[in-house]
């Protein structure tokens, strides 16, 4: 399914009315940040439709029924990886560090608390990135691939004046060679470089990284490189790049 076809089906999918090509669309959504962001905004709209109906009083017994059965049936030993699944397509350096810390600890309450804190921190950061991606006032610049990558891989840099969150997304990227990772970079007007951090990829070649603390108003270029370790400035030629004209 092409990107254009998918984009045209997203509103119908959001309404629950799509009855063909559903699997193909969902597969595309797994790897396309643009369609994913569109779906998120449409679901906000359809949920408003859902909330608009005449209020029906809740059966008093329902609350206790839900709480009792949900607590009884929840996984006794929840899989850490499963809990982190929502982040798998939205990984971020801070979360990765916290996850490593959490995994490195043995069992026990302290480890569980750290694990929970890591999840909460990561989810909170995730939500900040999501808020930016789904805002209609967000600006999106396309990062074009170097000739060596071919035409399909590309990236996007999302930013919005006055909002101290920036997101760099890469799509359809080839898996990096062993020992290497993709890194994002912002170049400021004074020519200095600011690292966005590593950008881990999922199985579809999709990855993203979130940067907090500035709104990108003085950014003149965005690059993605492939290198073996973090650095203060990009090493080697950019694989993806956008530059202000």
């Amino acid at each position: 399914m092409s990107h254009e076809e998918a984009l045209s089906l997203v509103p119908i999918y959001a309404l629950g009315a799509l009855d063909e090509d559903v699997e193909a669309l969902e597969e595309h959504l797994d790897g396309c940040a643009v369609c994913g962001a569109q779906l998120a905004t449409y679901l906000e709209t359809t949920s408003r439709l859902g909330e608009a109906v005449t209020q029906a009083p809740l059966p008093p017994r329902l609350r206790e029924r839900v709480l009792t059965s949900a607590m009884a049936s929840r996984p006794r030993r929840p899989s850490f990886l499963r809990l982190m699944q929502p982040l798998s397509r939205f990984a971020m350096p801070a979360a990765a560090v916290l996850v490593v810390v959490a995994i490195g600890l043995s069992g026990g309450l302290a480890a569980q608390q750290r694990q929970l804190h890591a999840q909460q921190t990561a989810l909170a950061l995730d939500e900040q990135g999501l808020a930016l991606l789904t805002s209609t006032e967000t600006t999106n610049e396309r990062l074009n691939p170097a000739p060596s990558l071919g035409s399909e891989p590309h990236g996007h840099w999302y930013h919005r004046p006055g909002v101290s969150t920036q997101v760099v997304v890469v799509e359809f990227m080839p898996a990096p060679p062993a020992g290497q990772s993709y890194y994002g970079w912002l170049q400021h007007r004074n020519s200095s470089w600011q690292p966005v951090g590593p950008i881990p990829l999922n199985s579809q070649g999709y990855g993203r990284s979130i940067l907090l603390g500035s709104d990108g108003s003085d950014v003149v270029a965005v690059e993605v490189t492939r290198q073996t370790e973090a650095s203060a400035a990009p090493l080697g030629e950019p694989l993806l790049r956008w530059a202000a004209s």
Binding site: S8, L9, P11, I12, A14, L15, G16, A17, L18, D19, E20, G36, L39, A40, T41, Y42, L43, E44, T45, T46, S47, R48, L49, G50, E51, A52, V53, T54, Q55, A56, L58, L62, R63, R65, V66, L67, S69, A70, M71, S73, R74, P75, P78, R82, L83, Q85, P86, R89, F90, Q112, L116, Q119, Q120, L123, A124, D126, E127, L130, L133, T136
Partner: protein
Amino acid sequence: MTLERREGSDAITDAALLASAVQGDRAALARLYDRYAAPAYSLAVRLVGAAPAEDVVHDTFMALVERPGTFDPARGSFRAWFMTSVHRRCLTLLRSRQRLAGEESLPESPDPDPEPAEALVQRLQDATVRAALETLAPPQREALVLAYYGGLSQTALAARLGVPLGTVKARMRRGLLALRGILQGERVDESEGVVE
């Protein structure tokens, strides 16, 4: 009816409550319930009736704690995800009812007793959403309302309205795009679908 937004007085995020609930925090799950059960139940009552609605809400919360990974923050807010989950469960129920009603040979045939779209709109409690829907071109409003509140698929909608599938898809697409813009307070260009 309007949900209390996360940015309001209750500052703990839905994601944080979900993470705690999955760890066995009953109070956290109770707070999620208190935030979302009422609108979810109301929607389900509207779509499938009171008794099934109770099961729909119950099962949605159960799925939430058993498979928390199905909520992906990258695909929207928890509020939108939860309402969508409830809506989808209701659609599944509605369509299985249609099949059980002897429509196996025409599984996508329309609701045998559909309520007119205009009546559905007038019964909405949220005046903002009602006004936004009334701004849409009538064919777009009809397609949106019958799809979302009537549970009709695109194929069933085309059959009911007697128009080509492509026309129905275009009406839903333009209508939802326009509605999104209106509810977000944007100016919507006519070419984007306020007027078909």
